[in-house]
Amino acid sequence: MARSSSQAEAPRERWGSKLGVVLAVAGSAVGLGNFLRFPGTAVNNGGGAFMLPYLISFLILGIPICWAEWTLGRLGGRFNRNSPPGIYGAIWPSRMGPALGSLGLVIPVIIFMYYVFLEAWCLQYAIEFFSGSFSEVFREATAQTAAGQETVDAVVASAGAHFESICGLSADGSVFPSVVDGAGLTVPMMFYLVIICYAVNFLLISRGVSKGIEFFCKIAMPALIVCALIILVRVLTLDGIERGLGFMWNPHWESLKNPDVWVAAAGQIFFSLSIGFGLILTYASYLDEREDVVLSGLTAASMNEFCEVILGGMIVVPAAFLFLGASNATGGTFGLGFITVPSIMHFMPGGQLFGGLWFGLLWLGAVTSSLSMLQPAIAFLENGYGMSRKRSVAVLCTICLCGSLPIIWFSRNVLALDHADFWAGTFLIYLAATGQVIVFGWVIGAEKGFAETNRGGDFAVPRFFPFLIRYVTPTFLIVIFGAWLYQSAPDYLRRMSPLHSGLHAVRTQQVDTALGGLVEALGPKAAAELQPEMELLREDALPRFWMVLDQQDWEQRLKGRLGEIARTRSVDFDTALLWDGAFRDSVADDRVQAEEDAAIGLGVFLSIMGFLLLVMGLSVFAYGRKGSRNRDEARTTVVGFS
């Protein structure tokens, strides 16, 4: 159902200015990952030494894929195709093209379904800081500690409890309205904020590319950078900040021998630039065929790196080390963002203002990113199925709500979000990017592809890039994809299986109880000496996805290992309690919970794959017929909107 010639001659959307498209693409890339994921990843992978694999990955992975995607997008725009299935259908006129392009549709839509929840978290924190209500969280911590003296641990614990409570991590459905006895209907603030974030996103996207996305990004991106610079100046002027900077930037060169560090660096670049899964493809399709993509692509990427390396790398971890100590200065994205940073702001002079600015800028970055996730689907519904903008916005909003509601409902330990992020936000992105690189380098041809890139370019792409995109980039990408799959996939596959997860829960309790008993029998000193052996026991004891599932067989092996340790250490250690009925009853709840969690994970996976197959079918139907690309469409006169 590609557009007919008469439809193709209608005015099409385009960006109002070069700055507008650059800010929009930079906005789609800049988000929580720049300010929270990068510093945590860097400090956990060698500190300053991490920058070496990071910059290498930027050169051989980030920039080539970035330029390739800008080029493909602009090329697709010449055929009036603005959605990834349509663009791929124009470039690769067969069923394979739109099928591959459907990944560029499904991935951003699914990410939006849970990303909007994170947006609401940022907004609530910003409101709480600006209003001063966040200080109440720490007032309770002060009251509970001895003599009213705050300790770092008490503050961090309070921040953690608050995060779990308001963001729904403590129980499923806790951010939804509920009826409390005697109090009537209780609606958490988070619920309203999710609605507000939905409204903001769909209101802006309904205004179109230039009046919606570009308009917002031209305000949000400079505001975000100004807020971050204010906080950066505040942090860099703190007494003793050089210690925090040392913790972040002092290089640990020996870490470069670990291949995991290189995988982490490549992964960080890859996900930070938001390349390979359709966002840039869609945005670039609204460019005029004579407009530059070389400088625009490089500018957007460099703005992302500015926010990541300079702003992200110099704020959170150094300040966290200074105020909270080394143990609280490392961690994952959510921990750093919603526990560590509020704790920092509690101790920092003027923390109420800076905390509000911090979460405000995170919210702006999140909205500019989430807007970009909606546009590919809007373009698909408009181009591929002839819907009006209003109707396509309504349809997409309905689809997104159908996905967001269960993800937000199953918020305990962000279970559903975590599974969605693994399959759609990581696995499918690797697939999409690999496909894109192969299309550019091998289907179109690297030389022809970069000739198209250079057209209208402010400067030419270096001559070694065709070789890079054809051989080096796909190899590097496949290697890190493979390494990531090897590291992460077995655990997630196990977590989707109720059988494996139930056994895992029981065996975890058995191993933990056994190790606790050994520590008690041996005393702490001997237990510390036994630590490496205990870690091996733990690793060997817990099932991976492909290990034997016979519980009796496993218990015999564990009994044997424990007996061996007891004999070599000459200690009398009774393991009988681990196998008796009372113990099994005590862990039954854990087993049931683990099995339910696995069912949720499996449900998320099947939903994503089902959605992907559906969209693939719709894409092939819309664009997959040979000859559906009307060459005359390429010569359509482009009329810009006023």
Partner: protein, 69 residues
Amino acid sequence: MDLVFLHCIANTDIQGLSVGGWTMMLTSVGVVLGLSMFCLYRMFRGAEPSQHHHAPLEIDTRDLDNSPL
């Protein structure tokens, strides 16, 4: 707040930025800042797109017609 602040400094082995730390930090910041400034300068200075052609206007993608896929 001061007691906590001193507690953190007293219990750490980090003395500050080492020579390597200064090098990595300044190099990284310099590279990123330099690249960003270069790009923004070229972008705001830029001329009309028609003056920037580095390749023929029409790229013949005939290879697609022979694609086996």
